[in-house]
């Protein structure tokens, strides 16, 4: 295996273009090194951590640009990010152990493309985007358009994500993420749910709801968002939200839970998470 350290993303793309065989980009490595341990060693490994900006969190136009090599531990300690996007930060903080948090990155979580990835529903609900760089130049892509199936992404051979962007939070907004696991730590979501919303007084003006582990990729659920918009999150709105979340996706039976259980939990989580996001949008910490 060849180990390469490009000094820019353009160089990383060029290296990937010239390389032969299986080429992988390395950020935190917490999934990649496990794959390597299982014998799937790439021919070329391109380490992105030394590219200027890759380790930075920058406030930009009211939103945030997060470098691809910023680990969870740094994100969860960042006061500005926690104030703007507490749901995104709590989702990232749920990934793995303290040791994993010391290395793992949200873009890595996205590119690993597990349907149960914790940060992905939160990033989708937040309206996050990534910059994708390839031989033909750069493009901005919504986070929800990156995973296409378990372990599959929409990136072409030789393309790399160069940064993650969170939009400006705006006034009176709040987001939240929760997942169900049978233990209290260190497990993979049976279902995960993220809600991001904005309020005008008590009324929800805008909402986005995303679910994890309910389909081959994390899902944005329009019907669930519609159940929230224009309401003050009363009993009827919550019931409609829960029904829409339960009806979403195409959950499967597996060792972590049955499809029926997943549908039930999606509804319960959506209601709980919406309440937290609503309180945060109203100024609660």
């Amino acid at each position: 295996m060849q180990y390469l350290k490009p000094a820019s993303f353009e160089e990383a793309v060029a290296m990937a273009g010239e390389a032969h065989g299986d080429v992988r980009f390395l950020a935190g490595g917490t999934d990649l090194l496990v794959r390597m341990r299982m014998g799937r060693v790439p021919d070329v490994l391109i380490d992105l951590k030394h590219i200027p900006g890759a380790r930075d969190i920058v406030c930009e136009g009211g939103g945030w640009r997060i470098g691809v090599a910023v680990p969870g531990a740094e994100l969860t300690e960042h006061a500005g990010l926690r104030a703007d996007w507490p749901g995104v930060v709590e989702a990232i903080g749920l990934i793995g152990s303290t040791q994993v948090q010391g290395r793992a990155t949200p873009v890595g979580n996205l590119m690993n493309a597990s349907p149960a990835a914790d940060s992905v529903p939160a990033l989708i609900a937040a309206g996050a985007e990534v910059e994708v760089l390839g031989p033909k130049g750069a493009r901005r892509v919504a986070v929800g358009d990156i995973p296409t199936g378990p372990g599959q992404t929409s990136l072409a051979q030789g393309e790399v994500i160069s940064a993650l962007y969170l939009p400006p939070r705006g006034a009176h907004g709040g987001d939240a993420y929760q997942r169900f696991i049978p233990r209290t730590e260190m497990d993979i979501a049976v279902v995960g749910c993220a809600v991001s919303l904005s309020r005008d007084g008590d009324v929800i003006t805008e909402a986005r709801v995303a679910l994890g582990a309910m389909a081959p990729t994390a899902l944005m659920v329009e019907e669930a968002a519609a159940a929230l918009e224009g309401t003050t999150l009363g009993g009827e709105a919550l019931a409609a939200l829960g029904e829409a979340a339960s009806a979403a996706g195409e959950p499967i039976d597996d060792k972590r839970g049955t499809a029926k259980f997943r549908r039930h939990v999606a509804g319960v989580l959506a209601r709980r998470v919406a309440l937290v996001a609503y309180e945060r949008a109203g100024g609660a910490k």
Binding site: P71, T98, G102
Partner: protein, 159 residues
């Protein structure tokens, strides 16, 4: 075979090594630098026996490549004692009999040290969450928690 030349600092000492590009930092520490404190329990980031501090962050050294250590500051359990004088965490782990086979202990020690650097007075819940990635098959954890709290109290007094 592609070999990588790496310079880093381990417990304050400059080290240089050549490693295979596929080798983990854990393999480098154990097999090339003869620092066998960090243990391999799983090799896949699940057990924490290989915990070290890497550029100020607690990490699983089985999930870091040796090649990634260029220029890094690494702290391992070998750097905890001051000569013959044990670190308070080491002393309290012994006093509380918070180990049996000892395989998990170096990882627990280094993880606990990272926690106390961040939070000198953690409660039981904070310790348990922080150490969720440090598995112990022997002790049942209670003694480990009490030893860490006892050491933390002593370190607060000394500070």
């Amino acid at each position: 075979m592609s070999m990588v030349h790496v310079s880093a600092r381990v417990n304050g000492d400059a080290v240089e090594f050549l490693c295979d590009s596929r080798e983990t930092l854990l393999d480098v520490l154990r097999d090339r630098l003869a620092l066998t404190g960090a243990k391999e329990g799983c090799g896949t980031g699940d057990c924490g026996a290989c915990s070290v501090i890497f550029n100020g962050r607690l990490v699983a050294s089985c999930l870091v490549l040796g090649a990634e250590a260029e220029g890094a500051e690494i702290e391992t359990v070998e750097g905890m004692a001051d000569g013959e004088k044990l670190h308070p965490l080491q002393q309290k782990i012994i006093e509380h009999a918070a180990l049996q086979c000892g395989i998990c202990t170096p990882g627990i020690l280094i993880a606990a040290r990272a926690l106390l650097a961040k939070n000198p007075d953690p409660n039981e819940k904070e310790i348990r969450y922080w150490l969720a990635g440090n598995l112990c098959r022997c002790t049942g954890y209670d003694k480990i928690i009490r030893a860490i709290q006892d050491a933390a109290a002593e370190m607060r007094e000394e500070a």
